[in-house]
């Protein structure tokens, strides 16, 4: 039943070819999965694995890059107008990767292939995670799908709260930030120096609230059905190194590229010791950049992160020595310093991610230090003073709640409070989202991937 709903959801996007692609990938990987398991011979198994993975990737690449080759190709599929750039491959990158992880897990004998086609199809198409992930492993999601559904009041309730919380983050905070960021990044040549820096920091916040807001909505919705999806974020900007950043940002994606690209490569090149690891890192993150899109901006972004990590691999032993000699190890100051450096490195990379073109990105990079243009206030006031105050108050509220959750057991005490208090809080959240949301064109940022 959920399957029908999921397919219904996907089809609401009014792009029937997407349904076809999903079905195609589902059938392919289902079939290949069974084939891998059916064989005992190592070579045959490997062949089926490679075949299956290649097929899935081919479908994905075709879907993503076909429009680039020529808009006429769409008329082959009987479409008389090209869907928007964003919609074109929505969700495909996510479930394709999920399918590949399924195949590899069968090959490695970590998982058994799913015989029930319906359940397997749902594993890929489950609507809360269909559009933007998280990328679920077979072990995590398939086993949950096997349980029959029973109404669970607490899960239903906390799922709804989580959903509303994510919605709030997205429509009130992320969208507001996007207006300010767009004012600068859609017209970079009118700005210089400090407003470029400001816009980049704002973008770092925007993309976090956008994506984690969506993830909350996805996890919340799934929880309403008693399904626990994997958490995708864990205070990413609190990371003290780029490596740690990737353990906290888009967790399911980085785990995927770690397990299925980095580890095999690293092992293959283990003779080259540190160089092997460094190269594996660069290649892995190059792939990550390409997965996000076929533009030089994304490639540069991926490459940048790959280089950051590669350098840190070489630098680590030296870094340990320096910290020991200066007696900074495990001090509070070191942690703050590392967090600040990491955050700025990440923001620098975001420039390439967000800029509308590679030349725009280069402009931003070359003009970061050029002092004060008097555009900071106008940028902040892009949508007016009221909008800015709503933003600031929302951020304050969010910070207070997050701090409270971390430092106290507010989650339990909240549910113990009287009815009117709790429902009053829900009411406040929903009404705020309703009233203070901002109408913007952009869909979720990570929809495009």
């Amino acid at each position: 039943m959920l399957l029908v709903a999921s397919y219904g959801f996907y089809s609401a996007l009014k792009a029937p070819y997407l349904l076809a692609v999903l079905l195609l990938v589902t059938c392919l990987s289902y079939m290949f999965g069974l084939r891998i398991a059916a064989h005992q011979d190592e070579v045959a198994r490997k062949r089926w694995l490679l075949g299956g993975s290649f097929a899935c990737i081919a479908v994905l690449v075709l879907l993503k890059y076909l429009p680039v080759l020529g808009p006429d190709t769409f008329s082959i599929f009987g479409l008389n107008r090209t869907p928007s750039q964003t919609i074109i491959s929505i969700g495909a990158s996510y479930y394709t990767f999920q399918a590949i992880s399924y195949l590899v897990d069968i090959y490695l004998e970590i998982e058994e292939p799913e015989k029930h086609f319906g359940r397997y199809a749902l594993y890929l198409a489950f609507f809360p995670k269909l559009l933007q992930g998280p990328i679920e492993r077979a072990g995590d999601l398939l086993s949950q799908l096997k349980q029959p559904y029973q109404f669970d009041h607490d899960k239903m309730r906390s799922g709804m709260i989580l959903f509303s919380w994510g919605l709030f983050k997205k429509v009130v905070i992320a969208d507001r930030l996007s207006l300010m960021v767009n004012a600068v990044y859609n017209d970079v040549h009118s700005f210089t120096g400090i407003s470029l820096i400001l816009a980049t920091y704002l973008y770092a916040m925007q993309i976090y609230f956008d994506f984690s807001g969506y993830t909350d909505m996805a996890l919340g919705t799934a929880r309403m059905f008693n399904i626990t999806l994997t958490q995708n974020f864990n205070s990413p900007y609190a990371a003290t190194s780029i490596a740690e950043f990737w353990r906290r940002w888009h967790i399911t994606f980085s785990r995927w590229i770690l397990d299925y690209i980095f580890k095999p490569l690293q092992m293959r090149w283990r003779e080259w010791k540190t160089w092997g690891t460094a190269s594996a890192l660069v290649v892995t993150f190059l792939v990550s950049g390409l997965w996000h899109g076929a533009s030089w901006g994304f490639i540069a972004w991926g490459l940048l992160h790959g280089v950051y990590l590669a350098v840190s691999v070489f630098y680590k032993p030296l870094q340990k020595k320096i910290h020991k000699n200066l007696r900074l190890e495990k001090t509070k100051y070191l942690k703050i310093w590392q967090t600040a450096v990491t955050f700025n490195l990440v923001c620098f990379a975001w420039i390439f991610f967000r800029a509308n073109s590679f030349s725009d990105a280069l402009y931003v990079v070359s003009h970061l230090g050029f002092g004060l243009d008097n555009q900071v206030m106008p940028v902040l006031l892009t949508s007016g003073k009221i909008s800015l105050s709503i933003l600031i108050m929302s951020l304050l509220m969010l910070s207070l709640v997050s701090i409270a959750i971390k430092l106290t057991n507010i989650k339990e005490t909240f549910y113990a409070k009287p009815l009117w208090f709790r429902w009053g809080a829900y009411y406040g959240l929903v009404v705020l989202s309703l009233v203070c949301n901002i109408g913007v064109d952009s869909l979720f940022v990570y929809f495009k991937f």
């Binding site: 490695l108 004998e109 095999p264 283990r270 010791k273 092997g276 690891t277 680590k316």
Partner: protein
Amino acid sequence: MTTIETLNQVFCLVFDDDTLKIHPDMTANDVDGWDSLSHVNLITTIEAKFDIRFTQKELLKQRKVRDLISDIDRKMVP
């Protein structure tokens, strides 16, 4: 020496800790400093010491020390 004793020696060498004592159920979480980089060092040192070579598949499946031991033993059989 048994496999596990030799292996223990390798661990002590790679992690620079003579007091380290491994057991079959140990995983990377249990040893300080066992990350992906030191894991590569561990593997190459094991391969050199036992004069063997792991396959890609074996490497990706290894999760606990016991997996290492069984893979080594399997390869040592003449």
